[in-house]
Symmetry: C2
Subunit: 338 residues, 2 copies
């Protein structure tokens, strides 16, 4: 059935049925002008928004609608994770061409529901609109944390080690495979990278644990590439950073790609590839032991990749040292959206 035959109220009713939202803090979810959330003392409310645009962030040809829905929510959950928060509620604004098939919409909302269940995050409202050109999905997520535990980008201090979770560059490698081979890439030699690109995992348990334990001095998620995002963290913290290329955690697939395309290209992916949704955080060296035990408990690698240093006026915010220890010039820092 085409969306234009199905109609808006039927679409919204189907969404509301799928996301029955009961929660002690929720006075009203879908179905009024705004959702109504009851407040609690001593907690800070977190809010973040993201937008996914067809042919900018995804292509229909290789993106199953269910994974599009999961990703649309996961990337905002990742922002909540990066503040050390727990997700609570989300809103979705969606724009669809009238010829969109109902099955596509079903798949999209099934994906949103799956990511919501996994992240313990309830749909409480949103908006549907017709578009002329392509699909747009905009998500807004609310989370909360004890006010004193929120981890900002601004807390990095000189001497802190810089850590990254997982294996950055995977998502960009997966995107490259999808752009080259279409959906067949999901069964090809870069299938794990493809999965990281299409279905990123927000690092909610790690973000919460790093915040609750007080181990992270600054934290953010990686969306636009390691060097560009680290530069943003450095600017907020008024510090600079040195990253050792030889310390970067490289996935098996990225190493295989490096054997074919050269080590320079391999490091480019790890340093500048976007959409990893891993956590980047800083912590004093004295926390190394506690961090490695937390990493084991979470089954998620925390890799130290460099160090925070005092800010040099007019110097680079991020210096990357090559395998021989000398500074490397990068062609670009990461993914600029324009």
């Amino acid at each position: 059935m085409r969306l234009e035959d199905w109609g808006e109220d039927a679409l919204i009713a189907a969404i509301a049925r799928r996301f029955v939202a009961r929660h002690p803090r929720l006075a009203k979810g879908i179905g009024d002008d705004a959702c109504v959330i009851r407040e609690l003392g001593g907690r800070a409310l977190l809010a973040t928004t993201d937008i996914l645009i067809e042919d900018t962030h995804f292509r229909k040809s290789y993106t199953p609608p269910r994974l599009l829905g999961r990703k649309a929510l996961s990337i905002s959950l990742s922002d909540i994770a990066a503040m050390g928060g727990e997700p609570l509620f989300f809103l979705v604004s969606i724009a669809l061409p009238p010829e969109t098939d109902k099955r596509f919409v079903d798949g999209l909302y099934e994906g949103l529901a799956q990511a919501g269940r996994k992240g313990k995050c309830l749909l409480v409202g949103g908006n549907t609109a017709r578009s002329r050109h392509g699909i747009t999905v905009s998500t807004t997520v609310f989370g909360e944390a004890p006010a004193g535990e929120v981890v900002y980008r601004k807390g990095a201090r000189a001497g802190d080690l810089i850590f990254v979770t997982g294996e950055p560059g995977s998502s960009a490698l997966g995107l490259r495979a999808l752009e080259e081979r279409g959906k067949a890439a999901a069964r090809g030699p870069y299938r794990e990278s493809v999965a990281r690109h299409l279905d990123p995992e927000p690092r909610l348990p790690a973000g919460r644990a790093l915040a609750a334990s007080g181990l992270a001095t600054a934290m953010m998620d990686l969306s636009d590439g390691l060097v560009l995002d680290l530069k943003r963290l450095c600017i907020e913290s008024g510090r600079a950073a040195v990253v050792n290329m030889s310390s970067l955690p490289l996935s098996k697939e990225l190493q295989r790609f490096g054997r074919q395309a050269g080590r320079k290209r391999m490091f480019e992916f790890a340093l500048t590839g976007g959409e990893d949704y891993e956590l980047l955080f800083t912590s004093p060296e004295s926390n190394l032991k506690r961090l490695s035990s937390l990493s084991r408990r979470l089954s998620l690698p925390f890799t130290p990749i460099g160090k925070i240093v005092p800010s040099k006026r007019a110097g680079r915010a991020v210096t990357v040292l090559g395998e021989d220890g000398s500074p490397v010039a990068l062609e670009r820092e990461g993914f600029e959206h324009f």
Copy 2:
């Protein structure tokens, strides 16, 4: 300067400079993964989201960027008004083609800033993205109200009078003039309707006063047309409604249009035209005197247009009585987005 030469971080820095956000409840606004809002006891937090899509909701040919920015925020502020809340903070996700001129972006954010100042609502975060086709602006607004004062769609009772603020149908008449005559319509015979379409005014003082005084039993804003929106209010309330066409408040411009195009077309605009962002609310007849004094104080007409009646199973949620008092069949109820 074109957006692609300007760059994302420069764009975000310009936005952050424009919207310096200091507020006792705001721990962190723009510049981190999520904004952080401190909570207060006894208040309910309201949140709503809207999306404006080029060539669906507006055309660049007749929409000044400043008014696009104002409208993008105003329509979400209208949802907060319709719950009886006061706005606090907003997030903006924006997608722009790379060839967009910097002046367009400046105008857009200037408009957001104007609407924010007027509604006492601070920008605290958001997202910028590149699009292939056209401009998308998605806004999320947070507001709050004393928990016991929030007015839902669900509170209408049989016997309540149905009121509307302002003059519904104006925005649709303005849109018609714009589609026919382009931006010249802003100086034509329907100029006030054009202004209502391009620059709607969220009814924040009225919404808040109706909630604080306890005068409204149910309330919502008019976005998709009077009959369709009233039907939604009736469904939430488990009631039905009778509307008298002869009671509808008709603007001078809509009456002039009626003299040319016929009374049937005139009433169609008032009953089914979208995007008015007026308030639709219900109240017992015993409140008439207090409502008329509130209306005078706000310089905003509240017009009783009909009555809530018990729900008839399998009957129409909304019956419209024509000028002769007999039921009228409408070709469509309002604006369905698909």
